[in-house]
């Protein structure tokens, strides 16, 4: 990275052209404008702006970068004058940026005391055919929440929409987002349930959905019916005892369900094909005790399931047998003891499957076990898998850092003693 004179001489001697005899030659400015803009597009806008004082060539370039990525500083949280300055700064950047089409507009800021500013920014971005919007708002005492202007939901070119924190989603009428492929709604508030259902219904090409729901967000999302959805990740932090979730996503490939403190999961899959195409399913639950699957027969599911991750606590281990039984093509299995349950050492009655599952015999190649503890049921699980998996190539076991070294060695000895069904199987222990 650093240039020493001898390095430069080497380079210039390699080149057969002798047009530049000078040792120190400004190569980067010879790149076409488009390339320099491309380089600057990987920087936050504040950094890109500082290049304007490098030299004459660089003076106007930052204004042609089609990406605006701005973030205010932590001191804005308590200083209203700094927040106002940031608001004015964003307005200036929007004025100075010359591009008629924006690729990305990312903002993370503490709510300024004049929300009309913010609405103007969004209108400007939408009128510039922005493709990706990423807004994170931190509320302040005087303005705890930002109400999104409806103009956002008629953005014809928007492909990616990510909203986080103190933002309120209010969709009073029909939405028109014909290009929206990715939607992330993380810890936001909703005006009512219709807002959510309208968005889901009116996005006709939605492929990726990430939802983080928490208590107090004023909605109960229970029905997700998006025919084009390929990737779905839902995280509940509601503390409710029972989650009812109805999913209709026939071509879903990646499913991730996370929950804290949920005790019961009522998953209904409507439509005969839901989850048939799933390639990866990961479940992150703690304290989970029961999950009911409704309206389908599990053995039809998960034909294409290649990767499965179970990050569970006590009751969740029952899913292991279920998954092993129903996923015929499983190649990678990740087991992890949920962070919230570690160190508590409670027993769990784990029953192995009745018959040795198909995937163990023919497809399972790798198993990762994180948060391994020296408890009976985990040892039983590992023993069962090691013993029956015939094509297993690698089993990776990670223990928590706080186990003392001797007990780690004990565990390792035990593991090494287990008979292995596969000759090539390697055991890694961390």
């Amino acid at each position: 990275m650093a240039n020493s004179p001898c390095q430069e001489i080497d380079v210039s001697s390699k080149r057969s052209k002798s047009s530049d005899k000078e040792v120190c030659f400004d190569r980067i400015s010879r790149l076409p404008d488009v390339l320099i803009q491309h380089i600057l597009s990987f920087l936050p806008t504040k950094e890109a702006m500082t290049t304007s004082i490098l030299s004459k060539r660089w003076l106007p370039i930052w204004t042609s970068v089609p990406i605006i990525d701005l973030q205010d500083s932590r001191s804005c949280r308590t200083d209203s004058s700094l927040r106002l300055r940031f608001g004015q700064f964003v307005t200036r950047v929007l004025i100075l940026n010359k591009m008629a089409c924006l690729d990305k507009f990312r903002l993370e800021f503490n709510m300024v005391d004049h929300p009309s500013y913010v609405k103007t920014w969004f209108r400007d971005a939408v009128s510039r055919d922005v493709k990706e919007l990423d807004i994170t708002v931190h509320g302040t005492q005087s303005f705890p929440i930002l109400k999104l202007p409806f103009v956002l939901f008629t953005a014809k070119t928007l492909q990616v929409l990510k909203l986080s924190n103190e933002v309120e989603l209010h969709v009073p009428g029909t939405v028109s987002l014909p290009c929206l492929k990715v939607l992330h709604l993380v810890w936001i508030k909703y005006r009512n349930d219709e807002s959510v259902s309208r968005i889901f219904a009116d996005c006709h090409v939605l492929q990726e959905l990430v939802l983080h729901i928490y208590v107090g967000d004023n909605t109960t999302i229970s029905n997700i019916s998006i025919p084009t959805l390929k990737i779905m990740s839902i995280r509940f932090a509601t503390g409710q005892h029972k989650h009812q979730l109805k999913i209709n996503a026939p071509i879903l490939e990646y499913l991730n369900l996370e929950d804290n403190l949920g005790l019961e999961f009522d998953l209904e899959l409507s439509g005969s094909k839901s989850l048939c195409n799933a390639k990866s399913v990961s479940l992150h639950w703690d304290w989970h005790s029961k999950m009911t699957w409704r309206n389908f027969r599990p053995h039809r599911l998960f034909h294409k399931l290649v990767r499965s991750e179970l990050n569970v606590g006590y009751g969740g281990w029952n899913m292991l047998s279920l998954f092993l039984e129903i996923s015929y093509n499983l190649q990678l299995l990740v087991l992890a003891k949920n962070d919230n349950c570690r160190g508590l050492g409670l027993e769990c009655r784990w029953k192995p499957p009745k018959y040795v599952p198909e995937c163990l015999l023919s497809s399972l190649e790798r198993v990762d076990f994180k948060g391994f503890e020296d408890v009976a049921y985990q040892l039983r699980m590992v023993k069962y898998i090691l013993g029956n998996a015939q094509v297993l190539k690698m089993m990776d076991i990670f223990t928590d850092g706080d186990l003392p070294l001797e007990s780690k060695l004990d565990v390792l000895k035990k593991l090494l003693m287990f008979p292995r069904g596969s000759k090539e199987c390697q055991l890694h222990f961390n």
């Binding site: 052209k17 400004d26 190569r27 980067i28 390339l35 004082i53 490098l54 001191s75 004058s81």
Partner: protein
């Protein structure tokens, strides 16, 4: 990726036994042959082969754009050779990329240029990101040094106030440096033209002074009005100095009871003078950003949380009680309570009035 799909197209002519090659010619005239799968990874070469039928023999070698010299070509071929193999995992590709990109900035620039002319987008992205990482976080001087950029902006163009928020420490430093330079320039101009110079720190009105004293003593960064358009002053490090301000404010209120207007004015002046001497400033932008309610006392109160408020109230009571006993030491104690970073030293003047020194850092 379409490049990978292209690479899988089987050649129509040659037999499956022999590997087929594509002939490439760089701008300096040298010709070399490259395996077909590898070469077809580049969209531009792919286009030439398929649309124009070039490259199948030495005579009709594809002439590459001028920006691709033999050294860069060999790098690009290495890149294509690795990535056109479909069997590598994402992790392997990533680690290859990280090793591949370790080269000096000269070659990075050349490689970006060459990859761009061959329309090899993944490599362009890789090198652009690497260059962006080099630029990120460096001062303009450093960047100029690394890339050997000419310093050809006039002083005025450079000193155009950076239109930026100033809570970014790098920008603050820059603005400080440039404001210093501008000061020098202006002074030189002053000598030449004997024009009316712009407002300086010392020219502030009495009202400004008093409100500064009452609200802003703890601000070590200083406040300077540099343009006549400026309406309000800006306060830096609000978070840090709110407790300081509050303590001093209350302290000042107490002092007033002791006919200490003179004293506080003196204290204020001293600290302010000390602050002025450091001459740190960054509110050249203030003519652009007219902030409101700068020194409104109400604002300060809102931003201090209740716990701190109670603590300060207790301190003030304490202080009032001890007013009869050792006054200077007590005051120093209480003031230094609020100043975590700026120990304040007091000493008694000959005539019994207080003199306060600030640390000018």
């Amino acid at each position: 990726m379409s490049e990978v799909n292209m690479a899988v197209i089987k050649p129509e002519i040659s037999s499956q036994m022999m590997k087929s090659y594509i002939w490439l010619q760089t701008a300096d005239g040298s010709i070399q042959q490259v395996e077909r799968e590898v070469a077809m990874f580049c969209p531009m070469i792919c286009h030439e082969v398929i649309q124009k039928g070039m490259g199948s023999s030495k005579n009709c070698a594809i002439s590459l754009p001028q920006r691709v010299n033999p050294a860069m070509l060999s790098l690009i071929i290495d890149y294509c050779q690795f990535h056109q193999v479909p069997g590598h995992s994402n992790k392997e590709r990533k680690s290859f990329d990280e090793k591949f990109i370790r080269m000096d900035t000269k070659r990075l620039c050349e490689l970006t240029s060459a990859a761009d002319s061959l329309q090899l987008k993944p490599l362009v992205d890789l090198t652009s990101r690497a260059l962006a990482r080099i630029i990120e976080g460096k001062s303009p001087e450093e960047i100029r040094e690394i890339f050997h950029l000419p310093d050809d902006l006039t002083e005025e163009e450079k000193l155009e106030p950076l239109k930026n928020t100033t809570d970014d420490p790098r920008i603050r430093l820059l603005n400080r440096l440039y404001a210093k330079k501008r000061k020098e320039l202006k002074e030189r101009q002053k000598i030449k033209n004997a024009e009316v110079e712009e407002e300086r720190v010392d020219d502030r009105s009495v009202d400004d002074l008093l409100s500064f004293i009452n609200g802003d003593n703890g601000d070590s960064k200083g406040i300077k009005t540099s343009k006549s358009k400026k309406k309000n002053r800006k306060r830096k490090d609000q978070q840090k100095s709110t407790s300081t301000n509050e303590t001093i404010k209350n302290h000042n209120k107490e002092l007033n009871g002791l006919n200490s207007v003179r004293c506080s004015a003196e204290v204020g002046q001293k600290s302010w003078a000390g602050v002025g001497a450091t001459s740190n400033l960054h509110d050249v932008e203030d003519d652009i950003f007219a902030s409101k309610n700068e020194l409104d006392d109400g604002d300060i109160d809102d931003e201090i949380d209740l716990a701190l408020k109670e603590k300060i109230d207790r301190e003030v009571e304490d202080f009032a009680r001890r007013l009869n006993s050792d006054w200077p030491e007590r005051m120093q104690e209480i003031l230094s309570f609020g100043h975590e970073r700026e120990p304040v030293h007091f000493s008694l003047n000959g005539n019994g009035s207080l003199r306060r020194y600030t640390n000018s850092e």
